[in-house]
Assembly symmetry: C2
Amino acid sequence: MPKLLIFSKRLDEYRQLIEAAHLPDLEILTAPGLDADILFGEPDLIRASFASFPDLKWVQANWAGVEPLLDPALRCDYILANARGVFGPLMSEFVFGYLLLHERKILQRLEAQKEQRWDPTLTGTLRGKTIGLLGVGSIGAELARAAKFFGMHVRGFTRSSASCPDVDEYFHADLPAFASGLDYFVSVLPNTAETRHIVNADVLTALPDHAIFINVGRGSTVDESALVKALETGAIAGAVLDVFEQEPLPAGHSLWSAPNTFITSHTSAPSFPEDIARLFIENYHLYLAGNPLKYVVDFERGY
Amino acid sequence: MPKLLIFSKRLDEYRQLIEAAHLPDLEILTAPGLDADILFGEPDLIRASFASFPDLKWVQANWAGVEPLLDPALRCDYILANARGVFGPLMSEFVFGYLLLHERKILQRLEAQKEQRWDPTLTGTLRGKTIGLLGVGSIGAELARAAKFFGMHVRGFTRSSASCPDVDEYFHADLPAFASGLDYFVSVLPNTAETRHIVNADVLTALPDHAIFINVGRGSTVDESALVKALETGAIAGAVLDVFEQEPLPAGHSLWSAPNTFITSHTSAPSFPEDIARLFIENYHLYLAGNPLKYVVDFERGY
């Protein structure tokens, strides 16, 4: 009989949602029992104690990013699944919220309003603008779909895949060439050895000076000193940064006050318990039937 | 040979765009000539002098709203066409920019950023929220399409039409019942005798207290004193107002400083000259061939 232990800051919510599904044969442990074979929850909380479960078979993370569990010093004798598929639409809301904030001069209108000043200056439009997606997995594909909805031209940068129908133009090499001519440059890359500081000074200076950089992937993919310099010198027009090399971003860090930069504290795609519980339930049925789980993470590749 | 006179603050842009189309037989008058049979441009500028054109056949407005030309004291012995079809996507950008600003707590994050404070509080999402569209013409239909894209439930209020595939639920009477349960209430109604103050205290108090009211139609459709009261008493949670009974909104008007209210100075759907010129060119070919024009305004109905 499978035994589940939940590690989460939102333990009660998750327990209720999973209990409500009346999953066959499942025992949900209420006290930390070392006989659990399934762990569910936040990767950082699981990491703290998962070494002590001898029967561990499956860890279902409720985040997309499972870096805390990928340290080569840690065990990898179990199936690690992350949360996927649910974040794309949320990420689209985030990215397009900030794109529209910029194009439609929402903050400029607010300034005029404070002075009770009628401000009919023309705004921009997303239509016809070019967005570049660094990484076109399930989240990138969702961003591409939203970009096409708003009439944008979409470039995608991937290692080799070129299967997203909403990408107009694929690049697989020469990141500065990809960056050149973009109005918006969005990174959705995970943290791997290959992506470290891939957004560097060369890439940032290849962007037009009116371009906005958005990072909803991982902080490690950006050379933050180069980014601060690009923002401070006006090499790019602004940035929306959800993720950082060090999180929380330390007080006093130059990014907090870089020109036209928005710091969003790793909130671009919140894990809503309803979404993640649904995903666990789906995977539990596969687990029980002995079938391959969905969203399994490759320990080597790192995603 | 058709003779066109352009009345516009962006005269040079429009002239260049129309000239570049090399329209057959068309003479573009460079000095105000009273023999013009076609007038093109801003309705308020055209109104000032269009009485003096004896050969007037067609006025192509470059706005959607043609109220300045609908005064019953004015001539109506010509074909009046307005600009349509081009504003829906721009209006969607505007409306969803503000919806996302609200759901994704963009201003709250900015406040945290000023204090260099990491703020991981959960945001909302548009998915699953209910939007009510007061008026489902071409602009309303475009807003409905965007709402479905973001996973919202869509109510539409119309006189009788029920043809938009993106509206989940139609209402044709009882506006308070329509308003009840909405998260977002968007008016796209034109200014007509029937729509005057249709958004009144009854409707506003029927909205849930977390609802946001957005007006991208016409200012005359709203009882502004009732709206100020609803905002100040917390009967609704906020408003995004692009149009007003008097424009520019006078300094000192209570709406400028009403709680959680955004004043956007009639900029929700800018007339981009490329769009409007394309529309004129299309109509000119119909005019020359003696065919019915597109987007003809009914002087009686007012739109």
